[in-house]
Amino acid sequence: MNLFDSVFIAKASFIGVIFLITLGVAAYSTYFERKIAAFMQDRIGPDRAGPFGILQPLADAVKMFMKEDFIPANSNKWLFIMGPCLSMLTALMTSAVVPFGDTVTIGDVTFDLQGIDVNIGILWVFGVVSLGVYGILIGGWASNNKYSLLGAIRAASQNISYELAMGLSIIAILMMTGSLSTKAIVEAQQNGHWNILYQPMGFVIFLICAFAECNRTPFDLPECETELIGGYHTEYSSMKLGFFLFAEYINMFISGAVMATLYFGGYDYPGVDFVTAQLGATAATLIGMGALIGKALAFVFIFMWVRWTLPRFRYDQLMGLGWSGLIPIAMFNVVVTGLGVLLNQQILVGFGGLVVFIAGIVVYDQLVVKKKIA
């Protein structure tokens, strides 16, 4: 009973820490988004609130809370309030299955640095991400505004379309690992056998789909300012709007963590054995947790980098890329991975498949597409 209690307390405090890290990262993502945008445009960015402007998220939060909390007269009031709550809830729930580190022993208690190690881990991520669109959909629909509704419809169709390709790219990983558990997937990648080496094509597909699932540029059609005013959050103000924006940043961080888990070895880093021998297992685990968060933050940077580089897709281009571009490629990737597993030559077959794929595209281009008019 005592052991159960201490494991429970340890898990609870760990979940609290993850919660705080996620919220802190999301808050500072808003600051770094603006800073990175500024640097890429040869500006300085926010630098008035505190040294280098590091108190800017605080100022933004105060601003958000002080604004008028407006609910449109003809909106569905309860659903209108529920929208941002659902967005926030689903965004925070995803982190439960991400393995942040190996086991830690404090006193006589040993526990995983993971919220829950369920055997359907990756399906949990999928399910919760699919639920995430409900927040946007309900918020956009309850606003009783055509622009909000259009944004919500776009969000729903975009998420459904890109979930297919995302699922197919994960299937290739499941074929290699043989388990749905995120912990098992990470453990299969230890000592440098990162999935990115085996699945470069799958990773690119997953990355593109992650951009679409987070509604980030170049796939930010649900909140496309040039066409839809503010998209699904046109009618929102005050902290409800803040929750929508916050949920987007949490999603970015968590999808970065999921990508690190699936393709970049999770909490694996070069020299684990050396650190374990020098400093002990607990220190090695904590450094591993730092490594995972570092990888996730690197992905957050890539998200922002892409946002300040690429323009937005047109809606038909978005659907074309998802349905007739990514899904066939993902299916091809599944076939190649199957062949690799069958022949037990995964890297070789993987890169062979990539070469065949590129050659196939070039040949198709030569045969079918009209040449330049001389």
Binding site: I36, M40, D42, W305, L310, I361, K370
Partner: protein, 172 residues
């Protein structure tokens, strides 16, 4: 007819495979933004940092005094006539005995006011002045107003202070 040899014929045919894949263009764009990410920002943090505006910048007005500290202005009103924005107004007064130290000419401006919301900083008052009394200084700007009470500048803000004399490049 060819004006130069720099003409370039642009072909508008089908896009090549690489162009249709977008990926090379995306990588190129990302490289460009990354290059700018590490380059030096061009921002000037204005209230703390100011840049040199040049020797002939037309900024804050100043009513010069001569070497003995007597005001040069004789309230002839030529600046007010020259002013296209009608920003300048003044009230003249005759110099009394014993005020020779204060005013150089026999007539002086008792009130001299410039409405800074009207002023367009054209510098025509400076050109019109026969006594070299009014100048637009190159090193100082008129600060931002917060209320309409602040926009009319009187002699207290315009007359040169003897401990902070205004000197322009090329003056002796």
């Amino acid at each position: 007819m060819k004006l130069s040899n720099r003409t370039k014929v642009v072909e508008q045919g089908e896009m090549t495979l690489a162009e249709r894949m977008y990926l090379p263009a995306i990588v190129g764009g990302m490289a460009t933004t990354l290059k700018h990410f590490f380059s030096k920002p061009v921002t000037i943090r204005y209230p703390e940092q100011t840049r040199y505006l040049g020797p002939i910048y037309r900024g804050h007005h100043i009513l010069k005094k001569d070497e003995q500290g007597a005001e040069r202005c004789t309230a002839c009103g030529l600046c007010a006539v020259a002013c296209p924005a009608e920003a300048i107004s003044m009230v003249a007064e005759e110099r009394k005995k014993g005020e020779e130290k204060l005013y150089r000419e026999e007539k002086y401006a008792k009130v001299y006011e410039i409405n800074m919301l009207r002023c367009i900083f054209c510098g025509l008052c400076e050109e019109a002045c026969p006594k070299e009394a009014i100048f637009l200084r190159h090193d100082k700007m008129v600060p931002v107003f917060n209320s309409r009470d602040e926009v009319i500048y009187g002699k207290d803000k315009l007359v040169e202070k003897m401990d902070q004399r205004y000197l322009r490049e090329g003056w002796k």
